[in-house]
Symmetry: C2
Subunit: 126 residues, 2 copies
């Protein structure tokens, strides 16, 4: 499983409109993202229109290829492109990728340890 994180910059003057377009995203695009194999897909908004995206997938290349070939995604991304600063191409393809440098469970697993929340310990001992 791969975790993917990317960054985009929303034009501040179009931020309200951008948020309205995501509340909710239209059904056919939601379904297409899921069919591409992206899971737990979340967008977070920071100061000044900084947008961070996060998703998990078993095969990011296959998910990207699925969306690249999708007329539904092409139409959606064409509509989205005007909301972003400094893009050259479809927003989903031109976003700036980040690099994973730490993952809790991977590091615990490499030590042979299984995460145990304190709250679970407490409830199981009571």
């Amino acid at each position: 499983m791969t975790r993917v994180c990317f960054r985009l910059q929303v034009r501040p003057e179009l931020l309200d409109e951008y948020l309205a377009r995501h509340s909710p995203v239209r059904a056919e695009m939601l379904a297409e993202i899921a069919r591409a194999g992206r899971r737990n897909y979340t967008l977070f908004l920071g100061e000044g229109g900084m947008l961070v995206g996060y998703y998990e997938t078993d095969d990011d290349a296959a998910a990207q290829a699925y969306l690249a070939a999708s007329p539904v995604a092409a139409a959606w991304e064409a509509e989205m492109s005007r909301y972003f600063v400094g893009l050259d191409g479809r927003p989903d393809q031109a976003a700036t990728p980040l690099t994973e440098v730490f993952h809790l469970e991977d590091q615990l697993a490499s030590r042979g340890e299984i995460p145990t929340p304190a709250t679970d310990n407490e409830s199981s001992s009571s």
Copy 2:
């Protein structure tokens, strides 16, 4: 379940050292994060030392309180503070939070739909 995303800025001149400190994070701090109830905790590095953190928790206030009271976390965060730009306090408490504005499965669930990856459909029909 809450998804939390935050941003920090690593000092570019200390980036290699910061990464070395996370490869891996020392065992007692890994265990403490897990005991606090943070799951799927991931750090992503972007251009210029921009660091994005992501985790999931059932009770973020409780997780924050657990780490605030933890001597292990206090020692770790005190060591980490020198790696970041513009912080006033412990890095885990002074990081800039982002706001969730979209989540795929939540929007699908609100429509009564269950995500179905195309790859699963194809394999089940073959």
